[in-house]
């Protein structure tokens, strides 16, 4: 890296000078902070990394607190240091090897090198570690080298001297134990973390009130308690909305016809046209083309619930070949003969294995080095953006059918918890401005992803050392990427900023919060997650200003139709390539946005003052233009 006189090295002066050490996130800021909420910000190296001004602040603090600064991290409540080792070398792919002190706690890995100015800090939650491998045997110099493969698009390499005392465990063996608590019979740190926040994030989502917000129950839809004890379907929530005229008994028979018992249930209803988005799993058609009268009647009932249209669209997220292949395993898709008035559309989105492979390829081309001259063709060969495009295009078709066609849609893939969740939640994001607010987005995740059983535990593999598990897949990351693409196309339509999305992804892995633990609502209830852990939303909602998009305008009734052509999609550099110091934004955009907010507040004040003046004057001198002040009194947003 150092001797590359090539083009990529050109810009780095500027960037690296501002962000002196690559993974720097000096812990000193943490020690300076008393408030738990802001200290939290730098808890994970990743989240604080992201925002430049925090880094700047950290640097300033670092100067002041250099003397008092310890080699140890500021520990979280109930975090315990497990091991500490001197003379560890960290091979930074960007700035070269550094020697320092490594600390491992039950939550994090903390590496600090004091020799550099400013000091070099690496602080990551153990949850992001996907694999620890010993690289090679003891070399001639007696060094032992370890590689850490991380889930968040980076790899770390450390080395230490061969230990003289053969009985002593290497610090990396300690690390392995705590990085994979589930495999080692330990508890995930979220269960120990005892931070108290002013907000309780577990109260963000309540199924009944969310249905009520949508106007459910109404004359066509009812809320059923048939799954109260998760007997109908163990991956569905206890509260679901179904058509009024289908009794609970029939639901059970339909459950038998749908894979994993995941019957069609309501995700979203259009407030005006009553067109609905419903989700389910594939029908158990099989090679023999089995049919279910109840299921057919059920879909008819969904269609009938919407008086505007006499058609029902069934969106099968899979490529048609895959859907057909599923017949061999007893699954399949709805035949248009059996389901009259229904039209089946395949959305060509590939399965979790393809997505995993695509992200792996992406990691290969972005970390640590990027080849400039073939960057675009390399990116193309990962197909990552193409997958993003297909997902967005699918969601767009759903949103368009519901909004413009006033037609109800049924969405499913094979099991209805991966691609289906992506599609319904993205479509809802396009259709309903509520989900574009910070709280609304939390509700969306809680509802479409968590309560409807996206298998986070399996897909992420929290605390599990089995990194080759075929169930792991970046389905949720893909969804967040799609959301980011939407925010790029509609920068004023979302209340949250990029930092919010990155924070969610960071804590998807960190295992600090209970939000993304377990596979289903049933498991979460069983594990008493809300009682025993802290919700990510507690943390976020306690410091909303960090996550607010200053450009946000509340266009409550607008539907977003993004352009899904690959020409208009971008790679999310701020997430996938954020570890590369040469990719850091040249300017603190975050900061600039805050200044804009201030400017806006100032202007608003000015408007108010002038308004008062005008009203006073027009009261005294009856001008013929007296009408206009009243018009301008209306808040600015309304006549956008």
């Amino acid at each position: 890296m150092e001797k590359s006189g090539s083009m990529d090295s050109l810009g780095s002066k500027q960037s690296s000078s501002r962000h002196p050490s690559v993974d720097s996130l000096s812990s000193s800021e943490r020690s300076a902070q008393v408030k738990p909420s802001s200290a939290m910000l730098s808890e994970t190296a990743t989240s604080a990394e992201f925002s430049p001004e925090i880094r700047v602040k950290a640097k300033i603090h670092a100067k002041v607190l250099r003397d008092s600064d310890k080699e140890e991290p500021q520990l979280l409540p109930n975090e315990v240091v497990q091991d500490m080792a001197q003379d560890i070398t960290y091979f930074c792919p960007f700035t070269g090897a550094v020697r320092g002190i490594l600390t491992v706690s039950n939550y994090r890995l903390f590496f600090k090198c004091m020799d550099r100015e400013p000091s070099f800090v690496l602080d990551l939650p153990l949850g992001v570690v996907s694999r620890v491998e010993k690289i090679g045997s003891a070399s001639s110099r007696g060094d032992v080298s370890y590689g850490l493969v991380c889930k968040d698009m980076r790899n770390l390499r450390f080395a230490h001297k061969q230990l003289d005392d053969t009985l002593r465990k290497s610090i990396f063996e300690v690390l392995m134990k705590f990085a994979f608590p589930v495999s080692n019979g330990l508890q995930i740190f979220a269960f120990q973390y005892g931070q108290v926040f002013p907000e309780n994030g577990w109260k963000v989502y309540d199924a009944v009130s969310e249905y009520k917000r949508q106007g459910i129950p109404n004359e066509s839809w009812r809320i059923t308690k048939v799954n109260d004890h998760y007997e109908l379907c163990d991956t569905y929530p206890s509260t679901m909305a179904v058509p009024v005229n289908i009794p609970d008994e029939e639901l059970k028979r339909i459950a038998a016809f749908r894979a994993k018992g995941r019957i069609p249930v309501l995700s979203w209803i259009h407030p005006e046209s009553q067109a609905t988005v419903t989700r389910c799993s594939q029908p158990m058609v099989g090679v023999n083309g089995k049919r279910s009268k109840e299921d057919e009647k059920y879909l008819q009932a969904i269609m009938d619930a919407n008086a505007q249209s006499h058609k029902l669209f069934i969106f099968d997220a899979r490529p048609s070949v895959n859907a057909a292949a599923n017949k061999m395993k007893g699954g399949g898709y709805e035949s248009e003969d059996a389901y009259q008035n229904a039209e089946l559309v395949f959305l060509d989105i590939h399965n979790i294995h393809v997505m995993r492979e695509s992200l792996r390829k992406l990691k290969d081309i972005v970390y640590p080095n990027i080849e400039d001259s073939h960057w675009l063709s390399n990116l193309e060969s990962t197909h990552w953006l193409e997958h993003i495009k297909l997902i967005l295009a699918g969601a767009l078709r759903i949103a368009d059918k519901v909004e413009s066609g006033k037609t109800s849609v049924v969405v499913h893939c094979s099991d209805g918890w991966d691609r289906t969740a992506q599609l319904t939640s993205l479509a809802m994001l396009m259709l309903d401005a509520y989900y574009r607010t910070i709280r609304g987005f939390q509700v969306l995740l809680e509802k479409e992803w968590l309560s409807f059983g996206h298998r986070f535990q399996l897909r992420i593999g929290h605390g599990d050392k089995n990194h080759t598990d075929a169930d792991r897949s970046p389905v949720f990351i893909q969804f967040v990427d799609c959301v980011w693409q939407l925010t790029r196309q509609f920068p004023a339509a979302f209340e949250f900023n990029e930092y919010f999305l990155v924070t969610i992804l960071d804590h998807l892995y960190s295992c600090l919060f209970g939000t993304f633990l377990c596979n289903s609502e049933q498991q979460r209830v069983k594990e008493e997650i809300p009682k025993r852990t802290v919700s990510l939303w507690s943390y976020i909602n306690s410091q909303l200003e960090e996550f607010t998009n200053p450009l946000y305008v509340n266009f409550s009734n607008h539907v977003l139709f993004p352009v899904v052509s690959l020409r208009h999609l971008e790679l999310w550099v701020g997430y996938y390539i954020r570890w590369n110091p040469r990719m850091r934004p040249q300017e603190p955009v975050h900061q600039r946005h805050k200044e804009l907010l201030a400017k806006r507040a100032e202007l608003q004040k000015r408007v108010d003052e002038l308004q008062r003046e005008v009203t006073n004057r027009s009261a005294s001198s009856s001008s013929e233009r007296a009408g206009s002040p009243t018009r301008s009194i209306t808040p600015v947003q309304t006549f956008v």
Binding site: L10, Q14, T95, H374, F490, L571, K599
Partner: protein, 782 residues
């Protein structure tokens, strides 16, 4: 509307008169098209819908479509009635100049057809698509209510009138726009923007020297009559130490007489020079050598780095090829509407190499910027002809290093200095006349793209916006501006002044640009592109600069002190210093870098050479220089950019950091969906609305307490000559008199947002003429 039209073919005149009478029978201005003097409507179609791009908010806008002999105009149905007090605008927001149309395509039921002047349509088009040279694609949809006759007629009219450019067509286009007596008068009355430096007079060059605190340099008028070099400007900046008589002998040593000339001084004292390649087969006299050394080393006798621009940068032919591929990629195959499949988009984009070329240029400019930053040296850009890449690199370096060049006026001055005055062959490179396709190369567009890349990485460090860059990009495709219609200052002089006034040396004489033009009426006077009011309304011009005030520009005298330090270590004039060649990121000192120092000549050259040889054991200095470049790649002591405003803006050039200029190349919108949605990326933001509202309230307040009218009117006159002359223009033509009578109410209808930037940045210069509010804004702001 005027009746006389001097240079229109008779047949068309007849046709036009016919139309005109038809129009006037219905009331000519009812349709709301405000014609230029002499412009008349050839054809019109009602109930047409224009497809809006993502930038305009997507969706459709319905209105009336016109074709005149100068433009295709579209007037939206609910457009505010033409405001006669408004500036003269050649092209409205929805208008397309005929000269910028590249292809006309109609879409009928199940078919698409490219329309040429001879095409006879066998079907009634449903859609009319105009592909423009500046990469816009404009799409009009004919309603079922549009009379079929109108649809076919207007399509034919457009196809017949737009014509692929050739000398005659361009001239008639220029005449249609600017040829009328009123227009000529109007243009000749327009004053040049005195806030920018045009780099045309000696005084202006002096001003630039002063701005850069470039001591040790002087403005020489040795080329005043273009005797020394036909492509150099009349005034050039050379070292003070060199007399004009000495200077004269040096021209022969450089290709086309383009000797090393000063461009810019970095505040830390380094000077940026540019020159053409050496004439090698020439005998170097002893005295000549002394002068050449002096000219090349300028004020820094110790170190001179020659940056060779011939390698590592694309050639004009490469640029042309890349741009052609990019156009094809972004617009698709026009006649067949075949586009590159989405899944091949990225690799096809890469294969155009356009992004590579922008990266190369930015890299080269960054290297030069880093050299300049170190101070105490002369950096001379050398290119064989010194008229393409050296324009690009020298101006890019200045954009990176000099905050002044990132303001709109500073940027315009920069383009004047490094492109227009320096003799970039705009005329040949743009190839409007299709005379010489080999010469065509959009070097200037590549430069704009490079600036856009920098801008996108450091938006807050620029006062100008990408809207400005886009406007300049589009204007460069319009054959109306003197800026882009000549190859050198000499040609421009010949055009603007009377030919007789310009001395023409026997050797450098070239045929007039348009041999046929002299037979007809004299060419209309061409305005410079910087006269933005000719093209853009105030509201759109307001978007050329950032709304929020930037960090105040630093005091320009920062450099004075730094210079003085250097003077102390300057060796005596007689001793030449070391020369290095920077090529492929490596420094070297080849023996024959300066031909007069070459080994073979060594015998004939006395002490000067040997001394220089002694002083140039450059191997030890090379590492020092390389460290300067290395500073690019390694972390140094963090310099807060706020502390040193001259710290160059070095772009990130890794693959993901260099992107396509979507706002420009993606306007084609072929693939964009027609979903109507008001909330696009460029939707007006509450902040702007607030600013507009503040303004409106201020206006209301102004009406509440009437100001001293005579004084404010005076203010407006002073500031806004242009407005007055424009209304003068219209009062001259009889037909327009009725329209030109100012409707008192119309000016008061507050155009929100029109001046938001001036409001926000604190200095009020309301450009609305004759209104009390301009005074009020001023008093409020102060």
């Amino acid at each position: 509307m005027r009746d006389e039209e001097p240079d229109m073919p008779r047949a068309r005149k007849k046709e036009r008169m016919l139309n005109q009478s038809r129009m006037s029978a219905r009331g000519g201005d009812v349709f709301g098209l405000r014609c230029l003097p002499g412009e008349c409507v050839l054809q019109r179609a009602v109930m047409v819908r224009k497809k809006l791009t993502a930038r305009e908010g997507r969706g459709w806008l319905s209105g009336t479509l016109f074709c005149t002999q100068f433009r295709v105009a579209f007037v939206p149905q609910d457009a505010p009635k033409a405001d006669d007090n408004a500036e003269t605008i050649l092209l409205g927001d929805h208008d397309i100049a005929l000269a910028s149309i590249e292809k006309v395509v109609v879409v009928g039921p199940n078919r698409t057809k490219l329309v040429s002047p001879n095409t006879w349509l066998k079907f009634t088009p449903e859609e009319l698509v105009l592909y423009c040279r500046d990469l816009r694609v404009i799409c009009f949809l004919f309603d079922r209510l549009t009379p079929d006759a109108q649809v076919i007629e207007i399509t034919h009219t457009i196809a017949k009138t737009y014509q692929p450019l050739k000398p005659g067509a361009m001239l008639s286009f220029q005449n249609a726009a600017l040829g009328s007596v009123e227009m000529k008068q109007f243009l000749s009355n327009r004053r040049r923007d005195a806030h920018m430096n045009w780099h045309e007079t000696a005084a202006e060059w002096e001003r630039e020297l002063e701005r850069c605190s470039a001591t040790g340099w002087r403005v020489s008028s040795v080329n005043d009559r273009f005797e020394m070099s036909t492509s150099l400007p009349r005034f050039i900046v050379v070292p003070q130490k060199v007399l004009d008589t000495e200077l004269k002998k040096s021209f022969a040593h450089f290709n086309d007489g383009r000797i090393p000339r000063w461009c810019w001084r970095h505040p830390r004292g380094s000077d940026l020079l540019r020159m053409a390649s050496f004439q090698n087969n020439i005998y170097h006299e002893k005295d000549d050598i002394r002068h050449l050394e002096l000219i090349l080393f300028g004020c820094h006798s110790s170190v001179c780095v020659v940056v060779e621009l011939g390698e590592e940068l694309p050639s004009p032919a490469d640029i042309q090829l890349a741009h052609g591929r990019l156009r094809a990629l972004c617009l698709g195959d026009i006649s067949t509407s075949v586009t590159v499949p989405d899944d091949k988009w990225l690799s096809t984009l890469e294969a155009t190499r356009w992004l590579d070329y922008t990266r190369w240029c930015l890299k080269k400019a960054s290297e030069v910027a880093c050299l300049l930053r170190s101070g105490h040296m002369t950096v001379a850009l050398q290119e064989a002809e010194d008229r393409d890449m050296s324009c690009l690199v020298s101006s890019l370096v200045q954009v990176m290093c000099d905050p002044h060049c990132r303001s709109r006026l500073g940027f315009q001055s920069l383009v004047q200095k490094e492109w227009v005055a320096a003799g970039h062959r705009f005329y040949s490179r743009t190839n409007f006349h299709r005379e010489n396709d080999k010469e065509e190369a959009p070097v200037f567009l590549l430069f704009l793209d490079c600036v856009r890349q920098l801008w996108s990485q450091y938006p807050a460090r620029f006062q100008l916006t990408d809207d400005f860059l886009l406007a300049l990009h589009d204007s460069a495709h319009l054959p109306l501006f003197s800026t882009f219609l000549a190859n050198s200052q000499r040609e421009r002089c010949r055009r603007t002044q009377n030919v007789g006034q310009c001395y023409t040396p026997v050797s450098g004489w070239r045929e007039p640009l348009h041999p046929d033009s002299s037979l007809e009426s004299p060419d209309p006077p061409l305005p410079p592109v910087w006269d933005w009011s000719l093209q853009y309304c105030e509201q759109r011009q307001a978007a050329f600069t950032q709304p929020v005030a930037q960090t105040p520009a630093p005091a320009p005298l920062l450099n004075g002190n730094l210079n003085s330090q250097l003077d102390a270590r300057r060796p005596s004039d007689a001793i030449p210093g070391s020369v290095f060649l920077l090529s492929r990121g490596v420094f070297s000192c080849p023996v024959n870098l300066l031909p007069w120092r070459g080994g073979s000549a060594g015998g004939s050259i006395s002490g000067v050479y040997r001394k220089s040889h002694r002083r140039a054991p450059s191997c030890e200095s090379v590492p020092g220089l390389e460290r300067l470049l290395k500073a690019l790649s390694l972390a140094e002591t963090p310099v807060k950019p706020e502390l040193d405003p001259y710290e160059p803006l070095l772009p990130l050039l890794m693959g993901p950091c260099v992107g396509l200029w979507r706002e420009c190349y993606h306007r084609g919108a072929l693939h964009a969906q027609a979903f109507s949605h008001p909330l696009s990326a460029n939707h007006r933001h509450p902040l702007e609305l607030l600013a507009g509202e503040v303004r409106r309230l201020q206006e209301q307040l102004a009406q509440q307490h009437p100001a001293d009218d005579s004084r404010s009117a005076h203010d407006a006159n002073l500031n806004h000559n242009a407005n007055n002359s424009s209304s003068f223009l219209f009062s001259g033509s009889p037909g327009a008199a009725a329209i030109a009578t100012p409707a008192p109410a119309s000016g008061q209808a507050p155009k929100e947002n029109a001046n938001k930037h001036t409001f926000l940045s604190g200095h009020a210069s309301d450009t609305r003429p004759g209104r009390a509010n301009s005074k009020l804004t001023k008093s409020d702001a102060s």
